[in-house]
């Protein structure tokens, strides 16, 4: 029992409620949001080290015995994700200060951010499958607010699609949980793992596994369920886009990762083979989209789809190397996507357009932005020693170990397409002749945006260069995912 597990969830929740008061005072709103996130981040870091030193931490609400109460479990996987989430949220909120606009800031922008963080951290931490649904709803409700806030024409068109698709997938989620409960008779995730192992995963459980893959696949945007992502995300203003791109699809990826390493592990010849092929097609579809568009937002959005494919390819290998690689790549992708969306936001604010053909010559007016963009682009493609390298290396190694030689080579080869897609932004926007632009924000304002962006890119460089220091954490996470008994024992047999 350790109540500490809950702090990274409760603190943003509490500040979200407090910030519902005093919508008039910008200083209170901004200060409160920042203070709350920093406080939550400190608690998440100390939780991370507790998990590292003392193993999996858990708390069951109301002191009920284990499979009956709602358990919250903080293992290495969730502690790492929670810490990264809060770290990125701090910089995205900082970025919002001078970009989101005071009209939105006066209308529940910061409470919505805090609620979305509550939901994301809750979904990462929960050890109960129905409770995971509840936290998904919390983060979705807040994301509906954020995507529609401002009420511009594009936002309304994008949010209708977003809300509809998420309502459908949430309904499917409850149905899938109901099917699982009807067969297994428990909702505690560790207990589900044990019960499925006892009955040796009959065919009906495999069907439910595919249903779960559909539900989480809709949220994570895998092939062929990613169709809603580009239009909905493109509607959001840059800071919100950075938050969504860095966090929301990753919750779906985490859910697939968790269910496919903890529950459905007895018929991998079917389920994980399916996941493998879907992830390969996801990467392919993402690459086609990323290369086809001349819209900077769309290019990076399709790169989310590619990254989701790469991470799930690592999960599909179902060996320790592949899973460790998936963890490495998941955290890398959260950081680098936040950085890229923030950079692209600055480019859009500077040029007043998202169309690459109308940009050019930014290198003359803002060289630092250009070089930082180049670093972020190299990091995304995984050029050593930047952050994407280690994850992709381990994922490919896991693929070779599992005997999936050709698909692993394919994943490696697509790195070149990823690099090409983001370098196109560099070539079109930064090189060439300067073109007439209608800047949305002044230079002084975009400089303010650049500070948090630069820090996130420096963090991503540190993540790549300092991979050696992170390896103990990542190998713990990989071992935990590869061997469900660690998780199960910690939840069911712990004190």
């Amino acid at each position: 029992m350790n109540n500490f597990v809950l702090l990274p969830i409760i603190i943003p929740f509490f500040f979200g409620m407090v910030l519902m008061f005093g919508q008039k005072s910008l200083r209170f709103q901004r200060g409160g949001a920042m203070f709350g996130l920093i406080l939550a981040f400190i608690s998440a870091v100390s939780l991370l080290f507790t998990v590292k030193n003392e193993g999996v931490q858990k708390i069951t609400f109301g002191g009920w015995p284990e499979p009956f109460g709602i358990t919250m479990v903080s293992d290495m996987v969730s502690a790492l994700l929670v810490t990264t989430t809060l770290l990125l949220a701090i910089f995205i909120v900082w970025y919002s200060f001078s970009s989101i606009g005071t009209a939105r800031e006066h209308f529940y922008y910061y409470p919505a951010i805090m609620m979305i963080i509550t939901g994301v951290n809750g979904a990462f931490t929960t050890g109960d499958i129905f409770n995971m649904f509840v936290f998904f709803e919390v983060l979705l409700m807040a994301s509906y607010v954020l995507i529609v806030l401002g009420g511009t024409r594009a936002q309304l068109a994008g949010s209708i699609k977003y809300i509809l698709i998420n309502v459908i997938s949430s309904a499917l989620f409850v149905i899938a949980i109901a099917y699982l409960y009807a067969i297994i008779g428990t909702l505690n995730m560790a207990d589900i793992s044990v019960k499925i192992a006892e009955i040796n995963q009959p065919a009906i459980i495999t069907v439910i596994a595919v249903l779960f893959l559909m539900v989480f696949g809709l949220k994570a945007a895998i092939f062929p369920l990613y169709f809603w992502l580009p239009t909905s995300y493109a509607a959001a203003p840059p800071p919100v886009l950075a938050l969504f791109g860095a966090l929301l699809t990753k919750v779906g990826v985490y859910a697939i990762m968790r269910t496919y390493t903890l529950f459905f592990i007895h018929d991998t010849a079917y389920t994980h083979e399916l996941l493998l092929w879907l992830s390969v097609f996801t990467i392919l579809a993402g690459c086609i989209g990323a290369l086809a568009y001349f819209d900077v937002k769309q290019i990076i959005i399709y790169n989310i789809v590619i990254a989701v494919g790469v991470i799930l390819f690592g999960v599909a290998q179902m060996n320790e190397t592949g899973l460790q690689g998936a963890m490495f790549y998941l955290i890398h992708d959260m950081i680098i996507k936040a950085a890229l969306f923030m950079l692209v936001g600055i480019i859009v604010y500077k040029t007043g357009t998202t169309n690459l053909r109308k940009m050019g010559g930014l290198m003359k007016s803002s060289p630092t932005l250009g070089w930082f963009y180049l670093i972020a682009a190299f990091g995304l493609a995984g050029i050593p020693p930047l952050s994407g390298f280690v994850g992709k290396l381990l994922i490919a190694k896991g693929g070779f170990e599992a005997g999936n030689t050709w698909s692993s080579l394919f994943v490696l080869a697509t790195s070149l397409l990823v690099l090409l897609s983001v370098i196109r932004i560099f070539i079109y926007a930064f090189w060439g002749e300067e073109k007439p632009v209608q800047p949305i924000l002044t230079n002084a304002e975009t400089t303010k945006l650049f500070i948090p962006t630069a820090i996130v890119i420096i963090i991503s460089i540190a993540y790549g260069v300092g991979a050696e220091y992170l390896t103990p954490f990542m190998s713990d996470a990989g071992r935990l995912l590869a061997d469900p008994s660690i998780y199960v024992d910690a939840v069911l047999k712990g004190e």
Binding site: N3, L6, F14, F61
Partner: protein, 140 residues
Amino acid sequence: MKTNDVIIQFTAKIVFFIIFFFAIHIFLAGHYTPGGGFVGGLLASSAIVLLVLAFDINTVRTIIPVTYTTLTACGLIIALATASFPMLLGDPFFTHYFDYFTLPLIGKTSLHTAMLFDTGVFLVVVGVTMTIIQTIGEDE
């Protein structure tokens, strides 16, 4: 055109209290018997909606001068405070306490911290329902 709504206004004034006290009854009946903060809150907001129908939003706003979003936030804080209070005592989150007390007039009663949590839920439900109805109703 001026409509004649004397009857509905007169009835609403009386029925409002009947519904509201029934809401309180349902709210207090919760925990051991069917009821609780959620249905209680819905009933209470239906009583307020009846007033809105009989009179109009601005009149009701002067009768009940509450900002409903603030009410929601207060409810959430009460609920969270009740749930996290056990953490200070070293018990797991959401642990509830109860005991029997002999109160004047009522006699032996069980008091349960779950009721405090339900008070939060009650306020949240009233706050959210009324915010939704006001937002739709104002749009003329």
